[in-house]
Symmetry: C3
Subunit: 138 residues, 3 copies
């Protein structure tokens, strides 16, 4: 069994933002030399997400607005913020969008449907955060 681990560093200058990281994950799969296996991609921070959806900026603005409706930023809403934080909402938004994706690797490539792309979703940005990519297989 082969395995390969890579860490990406994300720098989103705003509180919220989405970044297409498909190319970086494809590069990790190539570097792994794995032909058949699984690829895990996860946010290493608990106020960020990794998810798969469409690379369409209107949709991303829809997501940002919808997440703000479901879990508004308003700091006074969250008991968590009594610890001195103001990111209680980000811990909720991340649960909706998810922490990780697991993608099949087939014949050396991400085995994707026509529109699948991998995104990093930031909900408490303005600082460096990491994403883990781990490929295992043969």
């Amino acid at each position: 069994m082969k395995s390969h681990t890579t860490y990406l560093t994300m720098n989103v200058p705003a509180r919220t933002g989405f970044r297409n990281i498909t190319r970086e994950v494809e590069e990790a799969v190539r570097a792994s030399g794995v032909a058949e296996g699984l690829c895990l991609v996860n946010a290493m921070h608990i106020t960020a997400s990794v998810f798969i959806n469409d690379d369409e900026s209107g949709l991303h603005r829809d997501y940002a607005r919808w997440l703000e409706e479901l879990a508004p930023h308003e700091p006074s809403r969250y008991e968590h913020n009594r610890t001195g934080e103001d990111n209680g909402d980000a811990h909720h938004k991340r649960q909706i969008m998810g922490r990780e994706v697991v993608v099949a690797v087939t014949r050396g490539k991400l085995d994707f449907g026509p529109w699948e792309r991998i995104f990093y979703g930031e909900f408490d940005g303005r600082r460096a955060k990491r994403v883990l990519v781990k490929v295992i297989g043969e």
Copy 2:
């Protein structure tokens, strides 16, 4: 390490619907010859989900109603629909229900609790879509 990849084709004639695909996944596990490993099952389309829950039609109607409350179909709500689509809601519903499940394979079988069943959730149907099943292990 062994690996085995199968693609299922889903045809849901309505916009929304749930299909129990547990038997097809069990068949893929058998075909893989894997005794100990992991099985990934994911929607290959970004307006559909794969999830694990109860095979109970009342619950599925509850899910459909609840998802419609959280992300109503109404096309004018979504900037995404300005691209000519009318499925912005489906991209949101899929994020709630999830893209994929990873299931343990133990002694050659899906290692399930008493009520776990695998479902395909369609949120923009009336056309063929695919589900990927990948089993790796030994």
Copy 3:
């Protein structure tokens, strides 16, 4: 390829509760002897979740309140409860928080960001339930 499977038993005396199970998962990783691989942790029951977030009790109270807003317990809201159950809400709350996490194992340890901890989320407790931990790799 090595594999190791463990089952944890959870006993949450209230309907809803969160338990940090990181130590038990770390123990399973150690017992597996896997240096490089993947670790799956999933609820085996469909009214419970396994998720990764912060070990902060205020945040957990925020989650409980928020999930109650998104999917209120009120039994008459759910067609599922006509089967004799009163846990329709729990099947919805679990979809928001997720069934499972997949964590990278690197150099024999859970490859975690600074604040990542694994939690069991119970939404229909007062009885024993199980969590599966499966480690594969080399």
